[in-house]
């Protein structure tokens, strides 16, 4: 370039930075963000909530809004960006790129849905729906009994077909259909083998509203507790005697957890995990969309027993129907409280399997990337906002009222094959009646298929099963008589986890299932630790080869199990090892 000519032309300005370093806040974008946020607090922990507001309003997160939000919340731009890009449900749009189309169809391609034909849907839909509709594959959306499942924006499509989806799209039927609150419900009704509540039914079953729940004796227990009618020690003992264990998958005895947290200094927090994301698992949704107050009461009793303060409920973003119910019912509860209530906050996930991990969930509630914490210190000592925290899966607190009202013996009285208690099995795959089946702990998969699931689908022969979702390993049909419960499967390199049972048939291959699961883990790894972030990617790459390098996969698997920070990376190799060990015939 000629320097002299340059001096007179605007190109001469190119070296001058016309603003301070980096992106600057646009006044217009700031005004828009301020309007959206209204008088909501600008606290860091509300970052994800605020991102949702912008995403909901504008259909994406434009860079200008992210910059404005950072300014408004006094965060660094990158702190906003790294959180926004962590979660699937945020669409970050930069530098004037087009926002995604107004309608997004998400097709679940987790194992049960893949078995039911999700691939075909994903191939056909883009053409069928045209370029004004975005088609994405989604990790498990918690409707495995309705496989293949999809959502049109927020409208769930059970047993999805191209036609069903097309119809919803053209009708612009994008919202989750509202549910009526006219039902009565008792959890035991699931104990006897019933017709699958989900299959064929509407996506919005009627549920037990606040008034009905109270009329049925609801919230009496917690009111008594607060009024001094029970002492915490005896309540905790009852919980211990019931044998109730954490039903999110880890199986830590609930009563013992209460005792531990009770011994911690105040202030203390309570956090309820409804980030039900383990592929194959949908039990929490089934209960929540029918009977939302039972778990709330359990949560309040737990909070009282451990002398906890605020209660945080973390609900996965995919459960739009459940969120609507919870928002409405929490408002009713707070408007007409049965007793003094602690602060209760409902927090919305944003599409991240890892946030079902207890410490990742806490990070997410704090408005951060859902990266699991190293332990020790344990959540019970240093949890939410740094305080000792009682964290429970939804279903664990769901049983509290019934256990305390009916007595611990009632719960412990169920069981088979030497095991005690009840398990809510989410069954999907090649059976006649997939669905949530409440069955005695210790039931075998053969019994579960025959007694609860109406047997295998016609034309399918039982071939193998996943006893505990994506992470719990894969077992062959020959091992169908193992009691299904905590601890019983460990010696086989498997676990029951959240009791999500996926049934494979002779038309399926464990190797393919394992590959599907690894793809899921790779995509859902938080990216924090090497064995999981790099390990899942390399494992998948190795598994995509025709010939599996068995020694290398074994070596890698061992390191992932031994050295990963959290359960995701530690359990991710289970499907590989099971496929290698129990299904050698599949690789010649």
């Amino acid at each position: 370039m000629n320097d002299r000519a340059d001096a007179a032309t605007p190109a001469r300005r190119s070296k001058v930075r016309a603003a301070p370093k980096g992106r600057q806040t646009e006044p217009q974008a700031l005004a828009e963000v301020r309007q959206l946020l209204g008088d909501a607090p600008r606290r860091r922990d509300l970052l994800i909530e605020h991102l949702h507001r912008i995403q909901d309003r504008y259909g994406s997160l434009a860079d200008r809004h992210l910059v404005a939000l950072a300014h408004e919340m006094r965060l660094a731009m990158t702190e906003v960006y790294e959180v926004a890009t962590f979660y699937h449900h945020f669409d970050v749009v930069k530098d004037g790129a087009a926002a995604p189309p107004a309608v997004t169809v998400r097709v679940c391609d987790s194992l049960a849905c893949e078995l039911a034909g999700a691939r075909g849907l994903l191939e056909k839909l883009p053409k069928a729906l045209g370029k004004d509709v975005r088609v994405l594959h989604a990790p498990c959306i918690g409707r495995c009994e309705q496989a293949p499942a999809a959502t049109v924006h927020r409208h769930p499509v059970p047993n999805a077909t191209v036609e069903k989806i097309q119809a919803l799209v053209s009708a612009r039927s994008l919202a989750h259909p509202p549910a009526r609150d006219r039902a009565t419900f008792a959890p035991e009704s699931f104990i006897e083998p019933l017709d699958t509540p989900g299959a064929g039914s509407t996506v919005s079953p009627a549920y037990v509203g606040y008034d009905t729940y109270r009329k049925g004796g609801g919230y009496r227990l917690v009111a008594e507790c607060l009024a001094g009618g029970h002492d915490a020690e005896s309540i905790i003992q009852k919980m211990e005697h019931s044998g109730l264990r954490g039903l999110g998958g880890a199986g830590f005895p609930a009563g013992r957890k209460w005792r531990i947290v009770r011994a911690e200094p105040q202030p203390k927090m309570v956090a309820i995990n409804i980030d039900e994301g383990e592929p194959g698992t949908f039990k929490d949704r089934v209960y929540l969309e029918r009977d939302p107050h039972r778990f709330l009461e359990g949560m309040l009793v737990a909070a009282w027993a451990v002398q906890g303060g605020a209660c945080y409920i973390y609900l996965r973003d995919e459960y739009h129907g459940c969120r609507a119910i919870l928002e409405k019912e929490l408002a009713r509860l707070k408007d007409d409280p049965p007793c003094a209530l602690p602060p209760i906050e409902l927090r919305r996930g944003a599409g991240a399997y890892i946030c079902g991990e207890e410490s990742a969930m806490i990070e997410s509630i704090e408005g951060k990337r859902g990266m699991p914490r190293l332990r020790p210190p344990y959540v019970a000592q240093v949890g939410l906002f740094g305080y000792p925290t009682l964290e429970h899966n939804f279903e664990t607190v769901y049983w509290v009222r019934d256990i305390l009202e009916k007595g611990p013996e009632w719960f412990a009285g169920f069981g088979r094959n030497g095991r005690k208690g009840l398990r809510s099995f989410s069954v999907s795959g090649r059976v006649k009646k997939p669905g949530m089946h409440l069955a005695p702990a210790g039931i075998t998969v053969r019994e579960l298929i025959d007694e609860y699931c109406g047997g295998m689908l016609d034309g399918h022969r039982f071939y193998g099963y996943l006893p505990g979702g994506a992470s719990g390993g894969i077992l062959p049909a020959a091992m169908a008589d193992i009691p299904l419960d905590f601890d019983t499967l460990n010696k086989y390199g498997c676990f029951i986890g959240s009791a999500a049972v996926v049934i494979l048939s002779d038309r399926d291959r464990a190797t393919d299932a394992a590959r599907n699961l690894l793809a899921f883990f790779k995509e859902e790894s938080c990216g924090q630790c090497t064995p999981c972030r790099v390990g899942t990617a390399k494992a998948l790459a190795l598994m995509e080869r025709r010939d599996w390098d068995q020694p290398l996969l074994n070596e890698l698997s061992q390191a992932m199990m031994d050295a990963s920070i959290c359960g995701l990376g530690q359990a991710a190799p289970n499907p590989i090892l099971c496929a290698l060990k129990y299904f050698p015939q599949e690789r010649g």
Partner: protein, 940 residues
């Protein structure tokens, strides 16, 4: 979360088994640390001493008996009876797989000489990785100082922690997830387009060269490494030069007491000025008949138009003869000298001794006059000591930190990191400034008060403290005097009445007053926003009063800290480069002090305080000062109303300038003496924390450049002094003889420790970080309250000049830019003169960001580029004074504070219009990133 557990863990000894041996560790020391103490190495990548351990790489996993999975030894603390094995087959298998996984994704080309991943892989004998590699990201070469090669990134987040948790610049993030996880800048922007301030902490932290010095500087094997101290601001960061072929190829932060390994962009990347082609390499003498005038045009490439090269003999003879003749013909008061806050203590001391004993007057001053003279005046008056009471690091011990009129993220970047660290840990940070600075984002309360209303704001704070009964009565009773007058005076300034004056809501003023007064320890730090006003001394008086009335002084985490701007402004002042005082602030008009120095130096001394910087210029213009010796200062750029200063210097009969470059001041000289740059000599400097620190020689000076001490010595000999200082050590030892504050510091100790805090009166004294703990060094031991009333700035905006000009500095450019505009990286980041303007004002001008605007005052006019900046208050314009082609000081008002004699750089009336002449291209590096640091490239 770690903070809480750490508090709970007592530092008790813990006995556990490590690889079969019983060892004693500590409950607050991780296993990897204990292992290291016992000579056991555990591979590690994300762990780096000094950074918060994160435990993400998992290379350091170890087996703990009874645990289901392996544990990261960098994050786990031992417990009694624990059995830890770092080298079991199981642990090593995982360690190796982790290394192999990362190795699989490494690029062919290396970006650093010391790749920690390669090092550990070699040690553990990890062979060629068996896993397929990843798809590699593209390189990002957008930043002039730092090359981003994420193909070598192992996602260990050391850079992120360095950026976010150490420096708290908050630029680096970890975005996306899973194997898409990525180190990003801001919104995944190119580093050069991000908010990155180029501190290079991330580069220092990176184990694999994914973030590396640009242009291959990290691939140059250094011949030697030399420990020294940074030559830029008053923070005094210790660092290490990496020298290759007599060039500094890299600079590394060293664990100094004020920086603990941290540096800023200047200290890390601002050293190639020493080898700039403009460097003077031989003495110059003005050609006969070349006139001096105030409106010269600087073109360093055309120096031959005005000067000719001569030998040292000729130059020194000419220089000394001119000075000598003026002294002999016109008397001692006809000469003056400006020393420099950029030289060493030894140079400052010798220079003032030269003026006092050789010229025979006290007409010696330096740029402290332009920085903190008013602060020092108030401090001397109130508590008889101009130094800081507490060191910057005390912010970690404070509950409340009050920063007013200072922009430390720009002017004291590493000091700012400690403030931001404290704020992150929960210290309440209160920032008060007319401009919203970066620090404001970290503040509990940010008071954007109207420029010029400092006293209104501070008196309203004191009003609240009095009214609400927050005064520390015991402190006031036992350690102060004059409180009643102050109390009566502040009654006139209720917050409710001052709120409209200063623009801060009354409730906020009250809240801040309560925070400050009630906290267990509150500390005040201030900068030139306080001092550079005609009421600068009043501003500082208020701050002193605030601290004394609440008893927030004399303890750790409290006190008064005027942030010193230059690397040695504290030391130069201590050494006596001030017209009213001898070394150690002993007043020249105090007969006792004078007697001491007359005896010490062996001759009679002038009992009359000398003239200050601006007074000297005025006297020069009037012909009262006829000759000057200026060492390392650039008043032609730094003085207010530079046209006036240039005119004054042009009027001198004889001007000797000693500098690295042909500066704007040197252009007016009769003799120019080429001096050594900081890395080319040995000497001590004293930072803002009263730390005396040793700079060491790393480079041989270019051409026929001589050391400054030698030059002063030669001039002295030629004007009749019998001097023979051979080494800075000799000068320092002489200084110890007349300066009680440093009497205990030996040269040997400086060589050993690099840094000693004064007061250190006896050899072996540890040094005194907190002073005034029991009394103030006044005659009565009491601090004196001095009330202040509202005095408006000397020049108020009016119809003709409706806006306010605030001047100051920017991060990349040091003072008048003589060094930094010749440092390639710094010049590339900020090549052109800019004026920061509020977007609303810019819109009123109908100008767009980047347009040329013209700023005029009653004294001058400059044209420069508009930079839109929401932090600049509407109605004001901020201009850094480092740009010759648009010299802010052409506009400033030379009105002086009556006590400190400091000019009002922070406030004058200007008119801003759109358009004007395109500024001359004066960026001495062309605004381009410099060429590769060395011809040497990677060996493989």
């Amino acid at each position: 979360m770690t903070a809480i557990t750490k508090q709970e863990i007592a530092a008790l000894p813990v006995e556990f088994k490590l690889n079969g041996r019983t060892v004693v560790g500590r409950a607050d020391e991780t296993i990897i640390e204990t292992a290291r103490h016992h000579g056991i190495e555990v591979p590690h990548l994300c762990y780096k001493p000094g950074l918060r351990p994160d435990g993400n790489c998992r290379a350091c996993v170890v087996e703990i008996k009874g645990e289901r999975v392996l544990a990261p030894s960098c994050c786990r603390y031992p417990q009694d009876g624990m059995e830890v094995t770092t080298d079991s087959a199981r642990a090593v298998a995982s360690q190796k797989v982790v290394l192999e996984l990362l190795l699989a994704d490494m690029p062919e080309q290396r970006h650093t000489l010391d790749n920690e991943l390669d090092r550990w892989a070699r040690k553990l004998e990890v062979g060629l990785p068996r896993f397929p590699g990843r798809h590699q990201p593209a390189a990002d070469a957008s930043h002039p100082a730092i090359a981003v090669n994420l193909d070598a990134c192992i996602q260990c987040t050391r850079c992120l922690r360095a950026c976010r948790e150490e420096q708290v610049n908050d630029v680096i993030g970890y975005a996306f997830r899973g194997d898409h996880s990525k180190i990003v800048f801001d919104l995944d922007d190119p580093m050069g387009a991000s908010t990155c301030v180029g501190c290079g902490e991330c580069v220092q932290a990176c184990p694999t060269g994914a973030l590396a010095p640009a242009r291959g500087a990290g691939l140059v094997e250094a011949d030697r490494k030399v420990d020294s101290v940074c030559p830029y601001c008053g923070v005094g960061c210790l660092m290490t030069y990496h020298v290759k072929d007599n060039r500094i190829v890299q600079v590394e932060g060293r664990d100094g007491p004020s920086n603990h390994g941290r540096l800023c962009v200047k200290g890390r990347y601002g050293f190639d000025y020493v080898a700039h082609r403009h460097r003077l390499t031989a003495p110059l003498v003005r050609k006969a008949g070349v006139p001096k005038s105030r409106d010269f045009v600087v073109d360093p490439d055309k120096w031959r138009d005005a000067f000719r090269e001569v030998t040292w003999e000729e130059a020194l003879d000419l220089a000394a003869r001119g000075l000598r003749e003026i002294r002999d013909r016109h008397g001692r008061q006809a000469l003056a000298g400006f020393g420099s806050a950029k030289g060493s203590n030894e140079e400052a001391y010798l220079f003032q001794k030269l003026v006092r004993t050789g010229f025979g007057s006290n007409n010696v001053d330096h740029c402290t006059r332009l920085c903190h003279a008013s602060s020092v005046a108030a401090l001397m008056e109130g508590i008889s000591s101009g130094a800081v009471s507490n060191q910057v690091s005390d912010v970690a011990k404070a509950e409340v930190v009050f920063v007013i009129g200072a922009n430390p993220t720009v002017n004291h970047p590493v000091a700012a990191t400690w403030m931001k660290n404290a704020a992150k840990r929960g210290t309440k940070l209160i920032v008060a400034d007319p401009r919203r600075t970066e620090l404001a984002r970290h503040a509990t309360r940010f008071l954007q008060f109207k420029a010029d209303t400092d006293v209104a704001l501070l008196n309203a704070l004191m009003y609240t403290i009095v009214e609400e009964g927050l005064v520390n009565e015991a402190f006031v009773r036992d350690r102060t005097s004059g409180y009643e007058a102050l109390r009566e005076n502040v009654k006139k300034y209720p917050p409710e009445r001052m709120a409209p004056v200063c623009g801060v809501p009354a409730e906020t003023i009250r809240e801040v007053a309560r925070l400050y007064a009630n906290s267990g320890a509150s500390m005040i730090l201030w900068g030139m926003g306080i001092s550079q006003h005609v009421h600068g001394t009043d501003n500082a008086r208020c701050l002193i009063a605030l601290a004394m009335m609440t008893g927030q002084i004399g303890r750790p985490g409290t006190g008064l800290h005027p942030l010193r701007g230059q690397n040695n402004v504290q030391g130069a002042s201590d050494s006596g480069l001030i017209p009213m005082v001898f070394p150690d602030y002993q007043r020249v008009d105090d007969p006792e002090a004078r007697k001491r120095f007359e005896a010490f130096w062996g001759m009679e001394l002038d009992p009359k305080p000398g003239l200050t910087v601006v007074e000297i210029m005025n006297a020069a213009k009037k012909g009262e000062i006829r000759g000057m010796y200026i060492m390392g200062e650039n008043p032609a750029m730094s003085d207010p109303d530079v046209d006036h200063a240039r005119e004054a210097m042009a009027a001198l009969e004889h001007l000797v300038v000693q500098d690295l470059f042909l500066t704007e001041t040197a252009y007016l000289a009769d003799v120019v003496l080429p001096a050594t740059a900081w890395p080319e000599k040995v000497g001590t400097v004293t930072n803002t924390d009263r730390m005396v620190q040793l700079g060491r020689k790393a480079l041989e000076p270019p051409g026929d450049v001589r050391e400054d001490l030698w030059i002063i010595n030669e001039i002295a000999r030629r004007i009749g002094l019998d001097w023979s200082y051979a080494h800075p050590r000799d000068v320092f030892n002489e200084m110890r003889g007349c300066m009680d504050s440093i009497a205990g510091i030996t040269w040997e100790r400086l060589e050993r420790d690099s840094s000693v805090t004064y007061p250190c009166e006896k050899e072996g004294d540890p040094g005194t970080p907190v002073i005034f703990t029991t009394h103030f060094p006044t005659a009565t031991g009491r601090g004196k309250f001095v009330p202040a009333d509202l005095i408006p700035a000397a020049e108020q905006p009016d119809h003709d000049y409706p806006m306010v000009l605030i001047t100051g500095r920017q991060l990349e450019h040091w003072h008048t830019g003589a060094m930094t505009r010749r440092a390639g990286v710094l010049d590339a980041i900020e090549p052109e003169p800019v004026a920061s303007v509020h977007p609303l004002d810019l819109a009123k001008l109908k100008a767009r960001p980047g347009d040329v605007i013209t700023v005029e005052s009653r004294r001058g006019s400059i044209s420069l580029y508009a930079r839109v900046d929401e932090g600049t208050p509407a109605g004001a314009v901020f201009i850094p004074f480092c740009y010759y082609e648009a010299a802010a000081n052409a506009l400033t008002n030379p009105a002086l504070d009556p006590f400190g004699k400091i000019p009002e750089f922070k406030y004058c009336a200007v008119r801003v219009t759109k358009g004007g002449a395109t500024p001359m291209r004066m960026s001495f590096g062309g605004g381009q990133a410099p060429l590769p640091a060395a011809r040497v490239t990677a060996r493989d």
